[in-house]
Symmetry: C2
Subunit: 414 residues, 2 copies
C-alpha cells in the first residue's frame, strides 16, 4: 500500500496530503465480503399475501430508467403528475397532496408528526395492528392517546366514535379503512361529518384498501388520507401517498411547535412538491427511480379507471371467497359487507399449524400467503389480491396450492 | 354508473352491500389527469452535480427486477449482504449496521432521534448546510444545541472541538466529513479519541465523501456513521447506510424515553435487520427494489476495492482541478489537503450570473453542475465526480461545456 501511496503522493503533490496522512495511519481491517462476489438472483414469486404485491410490468420497467436530478424540471413534471394521480385515486381536490419518501408507516408518521402537538387529544380506532401503531406513535410524540379497541374482525360504529368524540374531545381521530391484519373494511360514510361536528380532524389509513375499495376523500370529509405504493398500485415499496384537507392544513400552519421531524415537515414538503406558489427549495433527495414507478402505476389506474379497478377487486375476491368456502374453509369476517375486497382473512384451519400451510404453499408453489399479524396472529391465514394480481387465474392457483397443503400438511399435531 | 352497480350487486349478492352503499351515495368528481395518459420519458443527463449521480449499469439493471416479500429468506440474505457491504465501506465490525428506508436526511434523523433525549447537550460542527440541518433537528427534538459555526470553506480543528467539548459537555458531536456545499473535506483523525476523553459520542455524515475519501469508522473512533446511496455508490436515492458503535448502542439501549419515531426506532430496526440474535419481527415494508440496487452497488465497490475507489476519485478530481485552473477559474477551497475528492467547489466566476453558467451547461451539453447551497449559495459552482462518473472523459466533457458557457454567457450584467 505504501508504495502505491508514495507514487500517488508524488504524482498528485500537495493535493494528496490529507489523504496520505489518513492512509498512512490506518489500514483496511475489514475485507470485502465474500457474499457480495456472488451474483444477485431473485426468485420468481406470486405475491398473494397482504402486500407487497408483484410489480405491474410498466412500473417494473420504469425501475430500470436512468437518474435525473431531483431539482430538474422533468422531475418536477413527474412530481406534478404524481400529485394529480393521487388526487384522482383519493378523489380530492386538496392542493396539499404529495408523495412521502418512505413506506406507509412513514406516511403515518408524517400525518401524526405534523397534525399533533404534545398534549393534543388523539382518539385511535384500534381494530388491528395499524391502530396499535398509530397509538404507539401518538404516545411517542406526547399526545394524549385514547384507544378504542376492537377484537380482530370488528370495526368502529358511528355511535362508538361519537361516544369517543364526546368523551375525549380529540383533535384527531384515526381509522383504518382496510385493516389488513383482520381483513375488515371499515365503513367511512358519515365519520368525517361526525368528526367535524366535534371539531375533530379525521385521519384515514387506506394502505391496504386504496384502489380496491371505494374511497371519496372530499365527499367523505376525510382530512388526512394516506396510502402505500406496493399494494393495489403494484409499484415498489418505498414511497407513499398523502393528502391534507384545508382544515388539516390550517392546523399544521397554526402549530405552536415545529414537528419533531425535518424529513417529514409538511411545510417544507409542501414547497418542495410545488403545493404552494413559491419557488421550490431543496429539501431532501427524493427517491426518483421509485417515483418513476409510482407515476407509472398511477397512470395505469388512471387509464383503467377507479370504478373498473374497484369492480375487478370485488369480483376476484368474491370468486376467491366462493372457492375458499368450497374447500371447507371459513371466512374470518362474518358480515360480507365488512370484508375487504383486497385482503381476505380465512380462519386458521382447525387441526393444522398455520405455518405449515404457509410454508407448503411457498415451497411447492412459489406463492406467498401469510398468517395473521399483531392481534390476528395465529387466528387467520391472509390472501391478498392486489392490483394486477387480482385475477381469477391467480385465485385458481392459490386454491390449488391450498388444497394440496391441506392434503399434505400434518393434522392434529397441535 | 348505477346500471353497472345494479348489475354488480345482482351478480355478487350480499358481498357488494357496503360497496354499493358507498358508491350510491358518492360519485367520481375528480377525473383521471390528462398528463398521466402521456408516456413517461426520461432525458439522458450526465449528472456532475453534488449528487445524485448517474446509476451504475449494474445498480440500474437491478431496478428492473421483480418483487419478493420483505420477510422472505432471500430478502433477509440480501439485507445481510448489504450489512456486510456497509461494514466494508465503513471499515467497521459493528454488529449494529443496517440500511435506513429513506434518504441521507432520514439517516441523520435516525441517528439524532435514537441517540439524543430531550435536554441532552449536542455540539454541532456547522461548516455548511448539513451542520445547519443537524442543529435544526436537534432543536426540534429538544436537545440543547451548541453550534460551532464556520464560514463556508472552513473546517473544525481538534483544538476548537476540544474547547466546545470542555465548555458544553455534550453527549454528542456532529461533524460532516464531506461538506458538499463548500467542498471541504473535514479531517477526522483524532476526533473520536478526543470525544471519548470527554465522554461524548462522535456522529459523522459521510454522504458526499464515502467511497471517495478514506474513512475508517472503528480506527477513527466514530460512534455513528451514515451515508447515502446516490453519491459514490451510484445507486438510486431512497436508502441510506448507518452504523452504531457499541458505545452508541449502549446509549440507545439505556434511554429513558422512546425515540419520537417508530419508523426509525433502532431497537426495532436492529431486530428487523438481524442485528440481534432474536427472530426477525415485521417492522415496516422495506424498499426492496432499492435494496437490490444498493446491494449491487456495494458489490461493485467490494469488487473494485476501497483503495482503488479512493485513488480513482482523487486522480479524476486532481485532473479536474488542473483543468479548471487552466480555464482561469479559482478553486474555492484554498488548502489542497482540505479539498473533497468527490465534490469540487469553484469560486463563482466574476462578472457572471452563476445561474447562466449552470443553465448553459445543462441546456447545451445535458450536463448537470450546480450552484452553491445554503451558506455557499451565490459563492460557488459545484462539480461532482461520483463513483462511475469519476473519469477523465467526464472531466473533459464538463470542461468543454464550462469553456463554452464562459464564452457565451453574458458578462458584467451583475
Amino acid at each position: 500500500m505504501f508504495r502505491t501511496l508514495a507514487a500517488a503522493s508524488a504524482a498528485l503533490g500537495p493535493q494528496a496530503a490529507g489523504w496520505v496522512r489518513t492512509m498512512a495511519s490506518h489500514q483496511l481491517l475489514v475485507a470485502p465480503p465474500e457474499a457480495l462476489f456472488k451474483p444477485l438472483t431473485i426468485p420468481s414469486r406470486l405475491l398473494l399475501g397482504p402486500g407487497p404485491a408483484n410489480l405491474a410490468p410498466r412500473a417494473q420497467a420504469a425501475g430500470a430508467l436512468q437518474m435525473i436530478g431531483h431539482m430538474h424540471k422533468e422531475m418536477h413534471q413527474i412530481m406534478d403528475e404524481i400529485k394529480q394521480g393521487i388526487q384522482y385515486v383519493f378523489q380530492t381536490k386538496n392542493p396539499l397532496t404529495l408523495a412521502i419518501s418512505g413506506s406507509g408507516h412513514c406516511a403515518l408518521e408524517a400525518a401524526l408528526f405534523n397534525i399533533l402537538e404534545p398534549g393534543d387529544s388523539f382518539l385511535v380506532g384500534v381494530s388491528g395492528i395499524w391502530g396499535q401503531r398509530a397509538a404507539d406513535i401518538g404516545e411517542r410524540i406526547g399526545a394524549q392517546v385514547h384507544p378504542m379497541v376492537k377484537e380482530p374482525g370488528g370495526y368502529h360504529t358511528l355511535q362508538e366514535v361519537e361516544e369517543g368524540l364526546a368523551q375525549h374531545k380529540p383533535e384527531l381521530l384515526f381509522l383504518t379503512q382496510g385493516e389488513s391484519s383482520s381483513g375488515v373494511l371499515q365503513p367511512l360514510d358519515g365519520y368525517g361529518e361526525l368528526c367535524h361536528r366535534y371539531k375533530c380532524l379525521l385521519l384515514v389509513d387506506s394502505v391496504a384498501s386504496l384502489g380496491g375499495a371505494p374511497i371519496f376523500m372530499d365527499q367523505q370529509g376525510i382530512d388526512i388520507l394516506y396510502s402505500g405504493s406496493q399494494k393495489v398500485l403494484n409499484a415498489p415499496p418505498g414511497t407513499s401517498l398523502i393528502s391534507f384537507s384545508d382544515k388539516a392544513r390550517s392546523k399544521i400552519y397554526a402549530r405552536k411547535t415545529k414537528p419533531f421531524s425535518f424529513y417529514l415537515d409538511i411545510k417544507w414538503l409542501a414547497n418542495f412538491w410545488g403545493c404552494d406558489d413559491k419557488p421550490r427549495i431543496y429539501h431532501h433527495t427524493t427517491p426518483n427511480i421509485s417515483l418513476y414507478s409510482l407515476r407509472e402505476s398511477l397512470a395505469l389506474i388512471a387509464e383503467q379507471g377507479l370504478e373498473e379497478s374497484w369492480r375487478r377487486h370485488r369480483e376476484a375476491t368474491a370468486y376467491l371467497h366462493g372457492r375458499l368456502q368450497g374447500l371447507g374453509l371459513q371466512l374470518f369476517v362474518k358480515d360480507p359487507a365488512l370484508r375487504l375486497p383486497t385482503v381476505t382473512t380465512v380462519a386458521a384451519p382447525a387441526g393444522y399449524d398455520w405455518r405449515d400451510i404457509v410454508n407448503y404453499v411457498m415451497d411447492h408453489f412459489s406463492i406467498e400467503i401469510t398468517g395473521g399479524l399483531g392481534p390476528s396472529l395465529g387466528k387467520v391465514l391472509r390472501i391478498g389480491l392486489l392490483g394486477c394480481n387480482a385475477t381469477r387465474e391467480n385465485v385458481d392457483r392459490v386454491i390449488a396450492a391450498l388444497q394440496a397443503a391441506l392434503q399434505h400438511c400434518p393434522r392434529n399435531k397441535l
